[in-house]
């Protein structure tokens, strides 16, 4: 009898721990499927849903999505109220869109007084840049829109994502765009053409600033690695890369299959997604390394008896070569911070005067 209880107990522990691990990966699988169904057209493309699905997976299904939706709803109502004041001196045919875009920018970067009744005024404070651990190296949730909504500060990942979500709520265009280790918003208006919106410093920098980081190779611009706009589908697909990175953060590098799968799906819809190419190659590299370790091999060639590994190795090699040829360069963190500082220190040189002077009424 006692023995039986023992066995039962041990079995119970096993199943518990087993189901825990399975539950966690289960969230990732769920998020993957939800995003993939948007990409294949089974469900409608929805950037907000894709973002929260990804974050929910990392938080083991504990993200209060309803609360987040409420937060977004509050923001949209403030944006609506601000755009009703018609604070821009802009009179082209795309006036309504530009006004909405400017209102979103204002809500994210400015203090907005909201009069509740005759005696109470509520101030909606701007979202600021979180200088601590700005690439989420120690705490991955620093990258999250949910963290931004709760804490009121974020980074170059969460801020443009929130902008994109709000733009989506109003069904107006806003494009995510990549720079080395950076994401920003690109918009277009009839009066001045394309312009950049940088939410981390609440400014409108010119293209020269992004190129001035020194890590943007000319070819990388020409072939669309950097500074190109992402379509809605590509933006939704990008969440799969985030999901892959969440997965890596959570489970380490032991199981790169899921990571590779995510990256491949991203690349299917966005073949020049430089981050997906890089993450995929890194995952493959680590997989081969771990296999070499297991077999005590000194060179990767020793594993080539297995055709799948041989194919993977050459795929990885080709990706690295292609990345370099197409102009991909990695940017060290201190250079990134220095580059961000240029917008403040050399603002005269790098700010878009057309946008600032021509139609922002200040």
């Amino acid at each position: 009898m006692r023995k039986r209880i023992y066995i039962l107990f041990i079995a119970l522990i096993f199943t518990c721990s087993f189901s825990n691990a399975q539950d966690s990966t289960h969230y990732y699988q769920q998020a993957y499927e939800s995003i993939d169904s948007m990409l294949t057209g089974k469900t409608q493309l929805n950037f907000k849903k894709a973002v929260f699905a990804t974050e929910n997976a990392y938080l083991d299904g504990k993200l209060d999505i309803k609360k987040m939706n409420n937060e977004i709803e509050t923001l949209t109502s403030i944006v609506k109220a601000i755009s009703a004041t018609n604070f821009l001196t802009y009179n082209e045919t795309d006036k309504d869109i530009v006004l909405k875009q400017a209102s979103i920018f204002k809500v994210l970067t400015d203090t907005i007084p909201i009069i509740l009744d005759s005696t109470h005024v509520f101030f909606h404070t701007p979202y600021s840049y979180d200088f601590e651990d700005n690439w989420g190296q120690t705490d991955w949730t620093k990258m999250f829109v949910s963290k931004l909504l709760i804490a009121g500060n974020g980074n170059c990942h969460s801020l443009p994502f929130l902008y994109k979500i709000l733009a989506e709520e109003f069904q107006i265009p806003a494009y995510l765009s990549f720079a080395p280790n950076h994401i920003y918003i690109k918009l277009r208006c009839k009066k001045t053409g394309w312009y950049n919106t940088e939410l981390t410093s609440a400014t409108f920098p010119i293209d020269a600033w992004i190129m001035a980081s020194g890590y943007v190779h000319l070819d990388a611009i020409r072939n669309g690695f950097y500074m190109d706009t992402l379509s809605l589908q590509q933006s939704v697909a990008y969440n799969l890369l985030d999901l892959a990175q969440c997965y890596q953060k959570k489970f380490g590098n032991s199981n790169p299959d899921f990571v590779v799968k995510c990256c491949e799906t991203v690349l299917k819809y966005h073949p020049v997604n430089v981050n997906a190419m890089f993450t995929k190659a890194e995952a493959q590299k680590r997989l081969i390394e771990s296999k070499m370790k297991a077999k005590n091999a000194k060179k990767p060639d020793e594993l080539f008896a297995d055709d799948s590994i041989k194919a993977m190795y050459s795929d990885m090699e080709q990706t690295y070569v292609r990345l370099h040829q197409l102009g991909y360069r990695r940017m060290p963190e201190e250079m990134y911070i220095k580059w961000m500082g240029m917008l403040k220190n050399e603002s005269e040189k790098y700010l878009d005067k057309k946008i600032i002077h021509k139609f922002v009424n200040q």
């Binding site: 053409g193 394309w194 010119i206 293209d207 020269a208 190129m211 001035a212 020194g214 000319l218 611009i221 020409r222 669309g224 500074m227 190109d228 040189k349 790098y350």
Partner: protein, 460 residues
Amino acid sequence: MKQANTQKQESSSPSLRPSRRCYTLAFFAARLLLPWFICIETFGQIPVIKTPIPATLQPNVIGSPNQTPNYGPTNTNPNNQLDQYEKDKRELQQRNAELYETPYNESALMPIQYDLPLQANPTDAESFRKASEKLNRMLSGVEPMNLKQAIFAIENAYFGSKLDYQKFDKEIQDLITIAKLKAAQDEYNWNNPQTRNIMLFRVMADTLKVKSPSQESYITSYPMQYDFDDYMGKQDWSKMFVTKLLSSKSGQCHSLPLLYLILCEETGTQANLAFSPSHTYAKFKDQSGNWHNLELTNGRIVSDAFILGSGYVTVEALKNRIYMDPLTKEQTVAQCLADLAKEYTKKYGYDGFVSQCVDTTLKYDPTNIFARQVKSDCQTLRFDYVVNQVGRPCPEILKTRYPKVYQLLEERNQTYQIIDASGYQEMPEQAYQDWLSSVNKEKEKQEHQGQMLRLTRTLK
């Protein structure tokens, strides 16, 4: 005889001017009647009534020699004696005005002229025609592409075929000789194309002292200077010329890179032209496949970051390859043709010859933004000329009554749209000067020295 004395007339009889935005039937009636009244009132005068100009049709002409003609009513007072200078000036104004204006009463009778009138008489423009034919032969492959000959042809055209080719060629050969002697003296291998790239750059950008082989004397060759005076050729277009650079040893961002390209072509080494806002420079690829930018106005090798630092290079411009992309030889010769068109406008004005040239350029190089701009100028003036003949109605009327004229407007707007979508941004002159002088900053100096050192190391 008609004399345009618009200022005077406007102040003395403002009541004669119909309202600008009057498009009603009454206006058309008035248009028919008014001249008669004027004729009666101002006995013996031949008036021309100002036609209404809708605001939307105001042309925006860049660099047009003929300013938008003044349509004010003209007045002749035979008793008023003008001195010769004033008279000449007015005659010229009048001639320009006439080019774009047909008197109202003829418009109804005469068929609409859809082409701009010829600006030069055929014998004067013969040299231009010849040059354009030569370039066309090169582009279509009948004649081998030769930049030296192409450039000489277009510059010779401007001077009515009076330039001396032998002299031009000798000056080029002299520069090559010095570069070659210097290379031999420093024990660099001239057969290495990279040596030629570097030494030809140095002969233009450096002071070189070489021993003459025949005599026992030294020859000192001085670098080409940047000519700050009228460097955009606003007063004198020949400031842009390679022949001017060779004779005066000073040039600007148009002639300097072209001379370098000619030198490279003569010695059989590869170098390319590249555009940046309001600027051109030379590029070459070294043995390891890396590109180098030669800023010949300052004699420096510069980084891409320097060129981007102007702040006027947009992502769209790079993606559309209008800037910083090395031009092929074909594209460079096509650019010469666009230069020829620009010369023609500077000397005579805009007509069918200009649009023919730039259309050919764009056929061979659709990314050429310079040719695209000249084309837009052409289209603007042409539309302006044609729409004047039908009395400048508003676009809606134009669309229904003169669909062919309306099409010209559409075509012009299309060109504007292409230019806007290409990512082109106009660079103010001050910004250009500031940017160009920033090459003297310490960072750029170091960049130059570093690259020069790395390149010369491989020459022996």
